[in-house]
Amino acid sequence: MNFLQPIGRVFIGFLGSIGRLTVFTGIALSHVVRPPWYPRIILRQMIEIGYFSLPVVGLTAVFTGMVLALQSFTGFARFNAEGAVANVVVLSITRELGPVLAGLMVSGRIGASMAAEIGTMRVTEQVDALTTLSTNPFKYLVVPRFIAGVTMLPVLVLIADIIGVMGGYLIGVFELGFNAANYLQNTWDFLTAFDVISGLVKAAVFGFIITLMGCYHGYHSRGGAQGVGQATTNAVVSASILILCFDYILTAIFFAADG
C-alpha cells in the first residue's frame, strides 16, 4: 500500500492549497469593501495593467482577427459561404478570443510581475515592514491590484474587440476582396449587446483570476530568489489554466442563458 502514500500526500497538499487560497481570497475580498483604500496605488496599478498592456493585447488582437478572416474564408469557401466571414470574425473575437487571449497575455505580463514584486517584498521583509508601519499588506498590496485587474481587463478586452475586428476587416477588404461597406454591415448586423457583454464579464473574471494568482503566489513565496522564481511560474501557470477552465464554465452559463 506504500504506493498510495505519495498519492495521498499530493492530494492532501492540494486540499491544503485550496484551503489557503480560499482563506486568502476571503481576507482580500473583505478588505476590498472596507476602508482605507489607496487611490494613488489603485491608479498606478490601473495604468500598469491597462495602459502598459495595450501594445501586447492590441498586437495579439489584430493578428488574431487577421488569421480568423483568412482561416474562416478558406473553410467557408468550400461551401460557398464566404459572406459569413465577417460574422465569424466578430463573434469569435467578442465572445471568445478577445477575452481569452487578452487574459492569457495579461497573465504572462501582469501575473508574473505581481508575483515577482510581492514575492520579493515578502523575502526582503518589506511585507513585514508594512505591518510594523500600521499598514495592512492586504489593503496596500492586494486590494489595489484586485480592483485594477477587475476593472481594466474589460477595458482592455473592449479595445481588443475593436482592434481584432479591424484586423479581420483589413484582411477581408484588402486581401480577400470584400466590399468594405458590406463587411462592416455584416459585422454590425450580427453583433448583439450580449456578445460583447458576455466577453466583458469573462474579462472581469479573468482579471480577478490573474490578480488573485499573482498576489497569492507572491504573498506566500519563500526562500529567496528561487522561491520568487517559483512563485512567478506558479502564478502564470495557475492563472492560465484557471482562465481556460473558467472560460468553459462561463461559456456554458452564457450558452444556457442565450439559448
Binding site: E117, T120, M121, T124, E125, Q126, D128, A129, T131, T132, L133, S134, T135, N136
Partner: protein, 257 residues
C-alpha cells in the same frame, strides 16, 4: 523606591515550528527609556522573539505585553494602535523599492493623511538627523549603498517619534567604520527621542555600544541578563564562549552537510 512597570515584557513565551522548538519559556523585561540588546548565535530565536513582539508571529503560549497590556490576539485596528508606538529597523532595511527614499521615510505620515509637502519636509529633517542630505530623498532605494540603506531605515524607524524602537542586526553586512556610525546614530536617536530600545545582534562591539543592558538567548531561553559593562566579566561559560568567539565550549554549532 517603587518598582516601575516594564515597557516590554515577555513571560514564558514558547514558539515551535513543527518539531523544532525555537522559544522555550523565554522571559524578558525591558524598562522604559532603556536600551536592551539581546545577543545570541544564528538560529537561536532572536528574530522569532522580535517577530512575536511585533505581532508578525503568534507565540504558542506565554504572554507579550507592551505598557502592561497584552498584545497577543489583538484585532487589526488595536494592533495598528500598538504599532504606532513602534519603530523598526530591519536587518536589510526593508525599504520599499517602488517608492523614493523620502516617501519611505514619511510612509507612516503619508498613510495617516499628512500633507505631502509637510511629510516631505519632515522626511528631510529625519534624513538630516541620520546624516543624509536632502537630495538623497529623491533617490530610489536601489541607488543606495548598504550603509545608506541602513540610515534611511533608521530615519523611517524614528519618523513617527516612536516610544519603542526595535533594531534587527543593525550592523550586519557593514564595514567597521559604517557599523560605528550606525551604532552612534542609534544611540543618539534613541536618547533624543527618550525611547525604549530593543536590539538583537551577534555583533558584540555593537551590543556594548548601543545597550544599557545585554541579555543572551540560548536554546530558546534567556540564560544571562545584566548591565552591558558586566557582560565581559561574566562567569557564565555560555556567555564567555560567545563573546570571545571560541569554537570550543558548551555551545555546539549545528553543522549541516
Amino acid at each position: 523606591m517603587t518598582e516601575t512597570r516594564p515597557k516590554i515584557s515577555l513571560k514564558d513565551v514558547h514558539k515551535a515550528f513543527g518539531p523544532k522548538v525555537v522559544l522555550d519559556g523565554l522571559d524578558l523585561d525591558v524598562a522604559e527609556g532603556r536600551s536592551m540588546v539581546v545577543i545570541g548565535g544564528s538560529g537561536v530565536g532572536k528574530s522569532v522573539m522580535l517577530k512575536c513582539i511585533l505581532g508578525l508571529l503568534t507565540p504558542d503560549s506565554g504572554s507579550v505585553e507592551i505598557d502592561g497590556v497584552s498584545v497577543l490576539g489583538l484585532l487589526s485596528g488595536e494592533r495598528d494602535r500598538v504599532n504606532r508606538k513602534i519603530g523598526m529597523l530591519f536587518q536589510g532595511a526593508a525599504l520599499f523599492d517602488s517608492l523614493p527614499v523620502w516617501e519611505n521615510v514619511a510612509f507612516r505620515l503619508l498613510s495617516d493623511g499628512t500633507d505631502r509637502d509637510e511629510a516631505r519636509e519632515i522626511a528631510v529633517r529625519k534624513l538630516a538627523q541620520v546624516g543624509l542630505r536632502r537630495n538623497v530623498g529623491h533617490l530610489s532605494p536601489a541607488d543606495l549603498s548598504g550603509g545608506m540603506r541602513k540610515r534611511v531605515g533608521l530615519a523611517r524607524a524614528i519618523a513617527g517619534d516612536p516610544e519603542i524602537i526595535f533594531f534587527d542586526e543593525p550592523t550586519t553586512g557593514l564595514d567597521p567604520i559604517m557599523s560605528g556610525v550606525i551604532n552612534e546614530l542609534i544611540v543618539s536617536c534613541v536618547k533624543e527621542l527618550g525611547a525604549t530600545a530593543l536590539s538583537i545582534t551577534h555583533d558584540m562591539a555593537s551590543a556594548q555600544k548601543i545597550g544599557d543592558r545585554i541579555a543572551m538567548i540560548y536554546n530558546g531561553r534567556i540564560i544571562w541578563n545584566g548591565p552591558a559593562d558586566e557582560v565581559a566579566g561574566s562567569d557564565n561559560e555560555l556567555v564567555e564562549q560567545f563573546i570571545n568567539g571560541r569554537t570550543a565550549g558548551p555551545i555546539q554549532m549545528a553543522l549541516r552537510a
